[in-house]
């Protein structure tokens, strides 16, 4: 059964009582919440996600609840995130419950899921070619990822490049793409049919709106991909689009610095990283224009 098969009312009751169990990529999650706006946005973003049975085991037990207290309900109401009963973050404004869920789940994955090598990167796929876009915050990674997924690429992830140690395959974990500040309007213009959620103003990353993962990404989230191209993107206002090859040793160094858990995964991480670099073409991409950047990557993938 898909998330969208259940009415909002039923889903809200389920979320409050036993919680909603679903799988995001390889991770089974249970979400409990009493916040109606969170359920509403969650349902609109992940409608095609398959629900898990109530007795299936979850790796992450997440709870996002309204901070109790009569006064608090009326004066600056807040949402509290907890994982297995632990509260790792300060409360957020209640209206920001959905971004709190997204960032909180990312935090759970990034800090505990070390069975695979995890890169901080967007990953997309087209015609069997896995394209990894590792980048630091502010590089335009999410905008480029959203642009590509609106031009026929399958979204594997906007945040995690998950490499399975045993065979080097990329594991999808399709989640909502958080667009920040100017990127919100850029994607609205670039892809008018893309589903964007509410704008959350004044978050720690500025104004944020989430783009829903395309249905085919959610439906194919079990389908792994072979990595073939690694591109380090960098947005520069007004810059002409420029793709340059990167030596494998430089790519290795940059990727190890970019990975969430390279040090923790030790020799397995080294071997997975070496295999990834050995089998991929590596590039730097500087661009000030989304359309040009998308077309450049499209042409690059067609040469493979």
């Amino acid at each position: 059964m898909k998330l969208s098969d259940i009415s909002l009312k039923e889903l809200s009751i389920k979320a409050k009582k036993e919680g909603i169990r679903f799988k995001t990529g390889p991770f089974p999650v249970r979400l409990k919440t009493d916040i109606p706006t969170l359920i509403e946005t969650f349902r609109s973003m992940y409608g095609q996600t398959l629900l898990l049975g109530d007795h299936e085991i979850s790796q992450f037990h997440i709870s996002i609840t309204q901070k109790p207290g009569l006064l608090r309900r009326w004066l600056k109401p807040q949402a509290i995130f907890s994982i297995d009963g632990i509260k790792p973050f300060e409360p957020y404004p209640l209206s920001h419950a959905f971004p709190l869920f997204e960032w909180g789940l990312n935090w759970c994955i990034g800090t505990t899921a070390h069975n695979n090598l995890m890169l901080h990167s967007a990953v997309v796929e087209k015609n069997g070619i896995g394209l990894i876009l590792p980048a630091m915050p502010g590089s335009g990674k999410s905008t480029l990822c959203a642009g590509l997924t609106n031009r026929g690429w399958r979204l594997l992830s906007d945040e995690f490049g998950i490499i399975r140690h045993s065979d080097g395959q990329l594991l999808p974990i399709p989640r909502a793409v958080p667009l920040k500040n100017n990127s919100i309007d850029i994607i609205r213009r670039y892809a008018p049919k893309a589903i964007l959620g509410p704008i959350y103003e004044g978050t720690r990353k500025g104004d944020v709106s989430h783009m829903a993962p395309p249905p085919n990404s959610l439906e194919n989230q079990e389908q792994t991909v072979t990595p073939k191209i690694i591109v380090f993107p960098k947005y520069q206002n007004g810059a002409k689009t420029h793709l340059t090859p990167l030596t494998k040793s430089a790519a290795f160094t940059r990727l190890t610095n970019n990975a969430f858990n390279y040090q923790i995964t030790m020799e397995k991480g080294f071997q997975s990283m070496a295999r990834l670099i050995e089998s991929s073409q590596c590039y730097n991409l500087i661009s000030g224009d989304l359309d040009e950047a998308v077309m450049t990557l499209q042409e690059l993938s067609e040469q493979k």
């Binding site: 030596t247 494998k248 040793s249 290795f252 160094t253 190890t256 040090q263 030790m266 020799e267 080294f270 071997q271 070496a274 670099i277 050995e278």
Partner: protein, 94 residues
């Protein structure tokens, strides 16, 4: 007695080589080291057999078409010292 330089035990290392450099995962510390062609050549030489720094300097000078000068020999000693610090080579005696 002349000091010899040898590679660390092969069981301590996991290596990956690309065209312009090599990467070594050093198991005892869990650190990854990136070596460019010059120190990599030294590691390769002492992997075949333990050598004195003088022999290494001469063989590399021949390979690189360099004069085996004092400065060159000093440079080799410095690189050996760096490689020792990383654990990739060890000192030994015949």
């Amino acid at each position: 007695m002349n000091k010899l330089w040898a590679a660390c035990p092969s069981s301590d290392l996991c290596a990956a080589s690309f065209e312009e450099a090599s990467l070594y995962y050093y198991r005892p510390t869990g650190e990854t080291h990136l070596l460019n062609a010059f120190p990599r050549e030294i590691v390769d030489l002492v992997t075949k057999q333990p050598l004195t720094s003088g022999t290494i300097a001469k063989q590399l000078a021949d390979l690189c078409d360099e004069e085996n000068s004092e400065a060159w020999q000093q440079k080799i000693k410095e690189v050996l010292s760096d490689l020792k610090m990383l654990g990739l080579v060890i000192e030994t005696y015949p």
